[in-house]
């Protein structure tokens, strides 16, 4: 492969990594509180409120039922509003984060809900406030599951960011379409696929290691 292509592949890889991790981080920051809200307001939760629970549940489900490629297009006005443009890596982060947030919120919710009721009651019986219960029990006890869930979210985002390439987001997906598909540069296609495999495996291995290290049960 010629040096120009190597440079292109390198830059595309960086763009994919940036898109994946930036949107992943945003989904973590917003998705975890959302997951907590879903668990806390559920029946029997530490701050039971079925109306809020249903409302948040609907919004989350709404976003999750729209296919990513449609969300990508539908969110173009929002993206323009936030980033100023709908093109490029920075712009792709907006729809990626918006799609990943409810996705991760549901995954976090499952881990949080699995925290045994007895542990929450034990700490409640010590006179802990709700915030304290969240900080000392819910999050630490669910952390291995949350880390695994975040790993899954990052892997999914890696794939989704390639899809975002289709509307000019840059990254490996964009490269694969322009060179591999439109110009029949099979070698570029192969390299892109190999890099994606390495990227996803790397995320999975690191995520699994961290989750295992946190697992104390």
């Amino acid at each position: 492969m010629n040096p120009v292509l190597v440079d292109l592949v390198w830059r595309a890889t960086v763009e994919t990594v940036v898109m994946t991790f930036a949107s992943g981080l945003i989904s973590l920051v917003f998705g975890l509180p959302l997951g907590l809200l879903l668990v806390a307001t559920a029946k029997g939760g530490v701050a039971e409120n079925l109306w809020i629970n249903r409302l948040v549940g609907w919004v989350v489900n709404g976003f999750r039922s729209v296919p990513f490629i449609i969300l990508l297009v539908a969110l173009i006005p929002v993206t323009r509003l936030i980033v100023g443009t709908a093109l490029g890596t920075g712009a792709a982060i907006v729809p990626l984060a918006i799609a990943a947030t409810p996705y991760f919120a549901r995954i976090a919710e499952v881990s949080l809900r699995e925290v045994p009721r007895g542990l929450i009651e034990a700490v409640e019986s010590m006179g802990a406030s709700r915030l304290r219960i969240v900080r000392e029990v819910l999050v630490p006890e669910a952390l291995p599951g949350i880390v695994s869930g975040f790993t899954v979210t990052l892997v999914t985002l890696t794939g989704a960011s390639a899809m975002a390439g289709a509307i000019g987001a840059g990254g490996l997906g964009d490269l694969a379409i322009r060179y591999g598909y439109q110009r029949f540069e099979t070698s570029v296609m192969v390299v892109v696929v190999v890099i994606l495999i390495l990227l996803v495996s790397g995320i999975q291995v690191i995520g699994d290691r961290i989750a295992a290290a946190l697992e104390r049960r």
């Binding site: 045994p116 007895g118 542990l119 009651e121 034990a122 700490v123 409640e124 019986s125 010590m126 006179g127 802990a128 406030s129 304290r132 000392e136 029990v137 630490p140 006890e141 952390l143 946190l214 104390r216 049960r217």
Partner: protein, 359 residues
């Protein structure tokens, strides 16, 4: 049901006059149409170990959870150290909950925290500074014999060790009352004993008040001073453990006691009939000094016939001898009961029947 509150004629000192730590009055709690608690009244006095026993589903956990506000009663009054808690908001309950330590059947230790951090958690919640928390947690781990495992995670401990940590955690914030909900039910008999010994030592050495919930009479018998029996949400029997063991009145108490009180073996009991013509068989229950009296002689003299011990003997509950004897004698029911009458109300005699055969 009021039980005789004396043991062998001596009034019980201490617990009866000590101030109440927890006072439950007419507490009712329903789930749907089911009454988990039906107008329950119970007082836990300072320094005592009160055993609350009942079958599964009797309402024990619901009652104990009402005491720290994890469960709200529908009606009735609950006072902790004199303060009414039933009308408190969740937030107002928080400082009060710190006065009550709780130990659970399944330990409920936080798996993500080390042993010492588990023990220190109530102190953290109470706003104690880190250095002081650590010092106090180590002190308690020392008390329960686990100082060496301070930095281990709970998953590395055995069940008995986990419960020791649970007890240390319940004690760390210096509670006025320790609630134990089936704390030994998940443990093997040997570990159960060591945990009960620990609770008793803590009660003796620190003067801590304990409300101990269990479905096992053996637990009550080992360490409780008083016992209350709960059935279908009601207290059906209450009194000093030795008294209740000597003379259980309610059918539920009798059946809970069946396993550990001497019972006439079935093959002997099966032979007895009210209209038999053979020797009579009767039981004698007595507590304290009375338990040591020579009943065979006492009855033999009046009945004019030899009286033989067929089963039973003297057991000890705390330092109280509790006697339960089964005798056989060539006599009739009326003569036996007349003699029993003259022995006074502290000694309980029951005519069980006659063996078949000629008289």
């Amino acid at each position: 049901m009021k039980m005789d509150k004396t043991i062998a004629g001596q009034p019980l000192a201490g617990p009866e006059t000590a101030p109440a730590v927890a006072e439950i009055r007419g507490v009712t709690r329903t789930f749907g149409s089911a009454r988990a608690l039906d107008s329950i009244s119970l007082t836990v006095r300072k320094g005592e170990i009160l055993g609350l026993i009942g079958r599964s589903g009797a309402g024990k956990s619901t009652l104990i959870r009402c005491l720290n506000g994890l469960e709200r009663p529908d009606s009735g009054s609950i006072r902790i150290e004199g303060q009414e808690i039933t009308d408190l908001s969740d937030r107002a309950l928080q400082p009060l909950r710190r006065r009550i330590g709780m130990v659970f059947q399944h330990f409920n230790l936080l798996s993500a925290k080390t042993v010492i951090d588990n023990v220190a958690l109530p102190l953290k919640i109470a706003g104690v500074a880190p250095a002081e928390r650590r010092r106090r947690a180590l002190e308690l781990l020392d008390l329960v014999g686990l100082a060496a495992r301070a930095d281990a995670y709970p998953s590395a401990l055995s069940g008995g060790q986990k419960q020791r940590v649970g007890i240390a955690r319940a004690l760390s914030a210096n509670p006025a009352l320790l609630l134990s909900d089936e704390a030994t039910s998940a443990l093997d008999p040997e570990t159960t004993h060591s945990i009960l010994d620990l609770i008793r030592d803590i009660n003796r050495n620190l003067g801590l008040t304990v409300l101990l919930i269990t479905h096992e009479m053996d637990v009550v018998r080992s360490i409780a001073g008083r016992v209350a029996v709960i059935d279908r949400g009601r207290i059906v029997e209450e009194g000093a453990v030795a008294d209740v063991f000597a003379r259980p009145v309610h059918a539920v108490t009798q059946s809970l006691l069946a396993g550990i009180r001497p019972q006439l073996p079935a093959f002997l009991l099966g032979r007895l009939g009210v209209n038999g013509t053979g020797p009579a068989v009767f039981s004698v229950d007595a507590v304290g000094a009375d338990a040591g009296r020579d009943f065979a002689r006492l009855f033999g003299e009046t009945l004019g016939a030899p009286v033989h011990l067929v089963h039973g003997g003297i057991d000890h509950i705390g330092d109280q001898p509790v006697g339960r004897f089964f005798f056989r004698a060539e006599a009739d029911r009326l003569a036996i009961l007349a003699r029993a009458e003259s022995l006074g109300p502290a000694i309980h005699v029951e005519f069980l029947g006659h063996e078949p055969g000629s008289r």
